[in-house]
Amino acid sequence: MINCYGLDGEFYKNGIQFEGFNQIDNCLKNNLAELHEFPVQVIILIINEYSKKIAKNREILRMEGVPFLCFYLKKVNMEKQLKLNLGNIEYLNNFVQVEEEKYIKAQPKGVVCHWMAGNVPTLGIYSVLQSILCKNSNILRVSVECVSEVYELLMLLDNIEVEYEGNTYFSKVILKNIALVYFNSEDAHLNSQMSLKADARIVWGGKTAVNAISLLPKKTTCKDLIFGPKYSFAVFDRSAIESDDLEEYLENMVTDIIAFKQKACSSPQVLFLEKSKLPVEEIAQILSGKFEKSIKRYTNLDLEEAIAAKIINKRGEYSLCLDKSLYASKGLQYTILIDSELKLEEAITGRTIFIKQVDDILEVCPLITKNIQTIGIASKDINKTIDFTDRVTALGVDRVVKIGYMNFYDSPWDGSLVMSELVRWCSLNIKGMI
């Protein structure tokens, strides 16, 4: 059974139930034409108003990741992202001449189906609004953990009106193109039905989910965007460690670790420190101090039993082992584990960071595979940073960002310019015809 919390511009707090996707799909198809008539500038203006509404709602702002979402949805950023993805936003409105009597337009894909992971609730909004900017209709399947948060966020998109070139436009048209649904992830029949409705499938999740959805039947014309499991870590070079900004870098490191319970694909699990005049232990102590400060603000730990058990075991191992060390809170609020083995460690999460010292940050290169998404970096040396980035991205890393920004959603993501994948590039070539 499908529980539908948003359909045809209406919201249902307790959900309305459907046995299949036909009614949802028909509803979306009926509403698509109206969205297609919206100039993309209108969608940007509505999203900008939406950002303002979120920013005024204190309750919603407390939700993890929402302050950055507000920033991301601002007009200036949306325009920037669209330009980066499509080159020219007019492609979304009209056939734009690209050569003599040759024109190109970015038409919507049609129905975009999103399968969202449960670890980052705001991701559903990023995913669906990028698709809306491309004038697609959407089935947004969220995990049970995120239903209420995504519902609350989408509700704020209602009742927005904007003026553009003398006409008034309503956000309801956008909402009419978003069906917010939940069904059991193990329901193969419903997953298959949803998949068969898709002109594009966007899948965010762990290995099991991604593999299962990838194997579902789909239209031959369906485009897949798979954001599967990824691993991230951080590096501090000597120039950063020996700089006056070390404390700030470590504070930002803590921010990156704490966000999204350290379960996002962009969450750092290991920190590699380049050898410097500061001993590792001293840096770990400063980091411990930063954690102590942060845990007063981020009091909600909410650890799962399995993760708590893993942390306890790692703490035991690192305290009993003669060549390892640790710094940890009295409870399980944070754990810093230090050893000298050059490897990536299994992600423990729950604010657990492994620290390892390297002679040169480039020593991490042999550890890199295409499963590494983000490297958070702290360095004062631009040339070294660019050289490092060039090498690690050649080996598989998708993004290198300054420490503190690891979990900020950005374009490109996982190597994709998402919006450029959510349109069909159509051409008109009439050279010499008229």
């Binding site: 290995k207 350290q262 379960k263």
Partner: protein, 370 residues
Amino acid sequence: MKVSELIDELVLGEQFNIDQEKKEKLLLNIILSQLECNRSNPNIKAMYDKLGINISSIKILEQVPYIPVNMFKYFDLRICTQEQVVRVLNSSATTTGIPSKIYLDKRTSIRQTQGLISTLTSFLGGKRRPMLIIDCAESNKRGDSITARGAAIRGISTFGNKIFYVMESENDELKLNINRLLEFEREYKDQEILVYGFTYILWSKFLNVLKQEGIKLDIPKLKLLHSGGWKKLISEKVEKEVFSETAAQLFNTSATNIIDFYGMVEQVGVVFIDCQYGHKHVPNFAEVIIRDIQTLEEVKIGGTGLIEVMSILGSSYPSQAILTEDIGEFIGVDDCPCGRRGKYFRFKSRVDKAETRGCGDTFAERQAER
């Protein structure tokens, strides 16, 4: 009084009769002296140093540094000399595939047996009686090392005047010897007898076989003790009540005669047996601290958390405080209607090892693909 004399007094004396406040003081003094000895192990010394443990500043049992139970799998946590080791206890390898190694010297081994006898006496009385072991004789074979099953059988056997093993091992598979079982029933059906087995073996290799074969026994005066192996039964959706009812029906006895007890190979000698009110009580020579899973502080009455088992029985390994991967509920102190003093609790479950997987969960895949 010397520490060793104090330990003997607590282990050999009547159990469950010391008020909590007094008991904590007695145990703390003993444990603090034992912690000093623990420093002779380099790993434990490293641990105490890294955690900044100052033994003399420990004022309550909750502050005693605990060792996570899995560490007995990865480290040789031996306090005595190699020559003093008389036996090594091995746990079943469970999920990690690595068994725990618990080094016992003669003194620890004797105290563990004494502790077990003292505890069981409180529940079974001192009388020895015919005993049916739902296992094979090989599981309790003599040797330098012994499994958790063997250790439990050996300890409980002291309550039997005649021991009957009712299973046989064929190609490492346990098979019920039905003739031997029926023979035991004929001879002892009207007597008070004891039955002991590992919970999972009892269920899968004994009770299920009896059901399949349509055999119903008639031994109403038994006490059936069982321990260990709930994880497998929970995965098969067998609840404790179902287990007890099934066993009671097949033996033609009351479900109150089916007694579950909680213990572990890392703390042999310390067992927690359900009283008639379903509460698990802590013997005088041991303690339980239920720690909150986030703060690791002791929960208040009514709270649930990780079960830490403390014991003064060990002189050859750090038995003083072991943090398990079991979840318990702290029920009360000194006031169980059964009359036993001290803390009492309920075993709830093993730690749920299933976790919500985020998109950062790629390590296993990455390792496999390298």
